[in-house]
């Protein structure tokens, strides 16, 4: 008897998670041309900034992940904890930390102001906020991937005359590819959905989540639903990409 009830438990969660999305779709009514323009603009800002954030995360985060994976000193342990901390920190707090240096009152913000450049409320600030929140996902995933690469393969490469850089590019990187790509996709979705830190640092130009928030304040649920649905769709696409690349990378791990 108890088991019969228990059998339904998973479905209840599924229904709970799916129902709001269906309900939101049902609230979707025709969007005015002006709103469509604003929505497209926010979507463009979000995707473009998330893309830049992802590239920055790859450029800096992958080498950092490698360093953390191969390092043996205790310092690495501390560095790792600090680097990963934005994942467990509410993004609002991360945003506040960022403001403390990038706002006109902060050290770097002040310097930039002096040379006639306002950091906050720019596309650049959006990227700064997203990078702070989303790049740790790349570091975490890539680090785990590098740890899965047998260090003996790197030794073998070195003994065959390859230096550290060639070894990294020819052996470590290709073998960690799957985890790195997964991490970058995570970073991308997290950046697209970033609200808290962006809200603090770059209320403008409006990204999708900020647009969602402001349209909700202005016109309630109906007004905000289109932005929420676009965010949901981007998430679904990235999830499908993740599965596809994951399978592909897993299936062709040997053919490079």
């Amino acid at each position: 008897m108890l088991f019969r009830i228990a059998r339904f438990l998973p479905y209840i969660l599924v229904i709970y998670l799916v129902l709001p999305i269906i309900s939101a779709f049902m609230l979707l009514s025709s969007v005015s041309l002006v709103d469509f323009f604003k929505l497209s603009n926010a979507m463009f800002i979000s995707i473009a900034s998330a893309f830049v954030t992802t590239i920055i995360s790859a450029l800096f985060g992958v080498p950092l992940a490698y360093m953390l994976a191969r390092g043996e000193s205790r310092v690495n342990y501390v560095v790792e904890a600090l680097v990963i901390s934005p994942i467990v920190l509410p993004p609002l707090a991360t945003g506040l930390f960022l403001l403390s240096i990038f706002s006109p009152a902060g050290f770097i913000g002040n310097l930039a102001n002096g040379s006639g450049f306002h950091i906050t409320r720019t596309f650049f600030a959006v990227v700064l906020a997203q990078t702070a929140v989303a790049s740790p996902f790349t570091v975490m995933s890539a680090k785990a991937a590098f740890e899965g690469v047998d260090v003996k393969l790197e030794f073998a490469s070195r003994l065959m005359g390859a230096g550290r850089l060639k070894t990294f590019l020819m052996v470590s990187l290709p073998l960690a590819k799957k985890g790195i790509v997964a991490g970058l996709l995570m970073t991308f979705v997290r950046a697209v959905g970033e609200f808290g830190a962006t809200f603090m640092l770059a209320y403008f130009p409006k990204t999708l989540p900020i647009y969602l928030y402001t349209s909700y304040l202005r016109g309630g649920i109906r007004e905000a639903v289109p932005a929420a649905i676009v965010l949901w769709l981007i998430g679904v696409v990235v999830f499908i990409l993740m599965r596809a690349t994951g399978d592909e990378l897993a299936g062709t791990g040997r053919s490079g």
């Binding site: 393969l153 073998a156 490469s157 003994l159 230096g163 290709p174 040997r254």
Partner: protein, 345 residues
């Protein structure tokens, strides 16, 4: 001058300390129990691990502080460490160098376009060997290369590897914990225990004349006893728990505490009523057979003397001729030229 010299190379891990010296030329097996520091030594030679002090000189070059890529060392890893994302050919040509001759000698030319996960254990081993040789290293290091191949194949593979290595003519260090493998492949054997090479010499020498008790134990001498030298004029007269024993070895004086050993295959069964040969005179003991083990073509007899246990290895025909299967009491003899004497630590 194609050889490797380790000069007082030390690596202190706190709980474990590696301290090795020695000259390596030809085909040397480093034989030792697991945890004795064999792989650590290879890792230091290859430059994966930094040593605390001492010098590593390869072909006259002091490579102590060179990065691995500058050392000109070939390495075959225990699990081969082939690049899983490349083909056999890509693995071989990774470091540049001409792979065709090597592939032919190692007989893997038919495998060149295979992927690594399409190879059997034995094939992987050959590819790993070929890969290590392609870049024409000054020395080749092999870390337990047989541990991942089928036991039944091992002997054949060791013999084949021996002939391949001979063909390339570079010094080789072959790490193993198997005495059999070491004797099969190597001209020289270094016995490593507790981070030190206790003896490094020609294989027969290490086998017949171990430097100390630990080497004797590891080389399978089995019958190892303590004693005190009573007299040392021409031959040694040693007092031990079964009386006295005579040995033709030299280099000890009376009063020296020693360890002596005799391999099971050199323990004789002395026939009743037959005159003793010169070599057995005074080295005969009465005992009781406590165990008979058929080891295939040979019988291992465990004989209890008054206090000590002696293991003897007797060929089948002698075993049956002497009717050892039905006898209990037996006289055993140690040939004087086979009683090897070592200093007690």
């Amino acid at each position: 001058m194609s050889l490797l010299e380790l000069e007082e190379v030390v690596k202190d891990f706190g709980r474990f300390k590696l301290h090795v010296s020695g000259t390596f030329d030809g085909l040397t097996a480093i034989l030792g129990p697991s945890g004795s520091g064999k792989t650590t030594m290879l890792n230091i030679i290859a430059g994966f691990l930094k040593h605390d002090s001492g010098r590593i000189v390869l072909k006259g070059r002091d490579i102590s502080h060179y990065p691995p890529e500058k050392r000109r060392i070939g390495y075959v890893f225990q699990d081969y460490a082939l690049f899983p994302h490349m083909t056999v050919r890509e693995n071989l040509t990774y470091g540049g160098g001409d792979h065709k001759d090597v592939a032919e000698t190692v007989e893997i030319d038919h495998l060149l376009d295979r992927h690594i996960n399409q190879l059997s254990g034995g094939e992987k081993q050959r590819v790993a060997l070929a890969r290590a040789l392609v870049s024409e290293p000054d020395i080749l290091l092999l870390d337990e290369p047989m541990s991942n191949v089928d036991e039944l194949m091992r002997k054949r593979l060791v013999i084949e590897m021996n002939s391949i290595l001979k063909e390339f003519g570079i010094p080789v260090i072959y790490v193993t914990h198997s005495r059999r493998e070491a004797l099969l492949i190597a001209d020289r054997i270094g016995v490593m225990v507790g981070g030190r090479i206790l003896q490094l010499d020609r294989a027969e020498r290490v086998f017949e004349e171990p430097a100390n008790r630990k080497v004797a134990e590891f080389m399978g001498a089995e019958n190892i006893y303590g004693g005190t030298v009573l007299k040392s004029d021409g031959e040694l007269l040693i007092e031990w728990s079964e009386g006295v024993v005579r040995s033709q070895r030299a280099g000890f004086k009376s009063g020296d505490e020693v360890v002596f050993c005799i391999r099971p295959e050199y323990v004789m069964i002395v026939r009743e009523g037959k005159p003793l040969g010169d070599l057995l005179q005074g080295n005969v003991y009465e005992g009781k057979i406590v165990r008979r083990i058929n080891v295939g073509g040979m019988f291992e007899l465990v004989v209890k003397l008054q206090k000590e246990i002696v293991t003897a290895l007797i060929p089948d025909h002698a075993y049956h001729r002497l009717k050892l299967d039905s006898r209990e009491h037996v006289r055993i003899g140690f040939k004087k030229n086979r009683v090897h004497v070592m200093p007690k630590f």
